[in-house]
């Protein structure tokens, strides 16, 4: 492989990263080739020692995505970071993936439950206001005021559910990012994390 093939493959594999970052990464490898050629090495030799440009791109992408997931904490960024890390072949992530998907599903389900409860609350509130003489057969409440209060209660419960699940989701997201960073560098120093603010 010569320098051009190496860099072209690398650039193509880095697609998805911001252009600035891609240019900066390519510059570093250009500099490396230039330095190597000064030492009279051939391009093929330098390229071989560097390794497979597709694999290098995977590493660069994974680092970048983990960094973004940490900065923004958004669900989509976290999912991108997870998939980039799996692509690197962190074997234990495959084992962890099952539970990860399970927990994510539970959080989504809880969220949906919260919305459903809140929606039923709103429905009851509307029902009590719109048709004051409505009695719902399944509910042992035949006063519209009572119905209104039950509706408000359900809405509040639903909102609580939603807020709680949101916090749970954020915590889960943070834990996932921490786990990915742990995988990226095997030795970590918990003590140092406590010392530096």
């Amino acid at each position: 492989m010569n320098k051009n093939t190496f860099l072209t493959t690398l650039r193509a594999s880095l697609k998805g990263l911001p252009q600035e970052e891609i240019d900066d990464i390519i510059n570093d490898y250009e500099e490396h080739f230039a330095a190597g050629k000064k030492k009279k090495r051939t391009e093929a030799n330098i390229a071989k020692a560097l390794g497979n440009p597709k694999d290098l791109a995977k590493q660069h992408k994974a680092s970048h995505r983990i960094k973004k997931a940490e900065q923004t904490g958004s669900a989509s960024n976290i999912i991108r970071a997870v998939s980039a890390s799996i692509g690197l072949g962190f074997f234990n992530l495959i084992i962890v993936l099952g539970p990860f998907v399970a927990i994510a599903s539970v959080i989504i389900a809880l969220f949906a439950t919260g919305i459903a409860i809140a929606a039923s609350g709103i429905a009851l509130m509307l029902a009590s206001i719109v048709s004051p003489f409505i009695t719902i057969i399944t509910m042992p409440i035949n006063s519209s005021l009572g119905l209104l209060f039950v509706g408000i209660g359900l809405l509040a419960l639903g909102i609580l559910f939603i807020i709680g699940t949101w916090q749970l989701g954020k915590l889960f997201g943070k834990l996932t990012v921490s786990y990915l960073k742990l995988n990226a560098s095997i030795i970590t120093c918990k003590k140092e994390k406590e010392e530096t603010p």
Binding site: I25, D28, E31, A49, L50, L56, H60, I186, T196
Partner: protein, 109 residues
Amino acid sequence: MDTQFKKGVLELCVLASLARKEQYGYELVSKISKAIAVSEGTIYPLLRRLKDEHHVQTRLVESREGPPRKYYQLTAEGRKRTQSLAKEWQQFTEKINHYLTNENKEDKR
């Protein structure tokens, strides 16, 4: 040597090397890859990450013969991290070595 060992230790080697001397990419990469057999390219993503984490910083130095060279050096945070990683490594290897020698003694009984 096991790939997982290498991955963990690579960061320590890079930081320790920079702790001794500021270096430009090619210089550092050549040195490290002689000590620990990894494909040279993997050191660049590591350097990027270290820079993002503010353990390493870079500066450009003009070169007579060509484009400016990027020199990597440790930040104060980077030095702290080097020390803690080195300490962890030492404790870890001491324990393992101790375990291995004791295991051998037990087998001989």
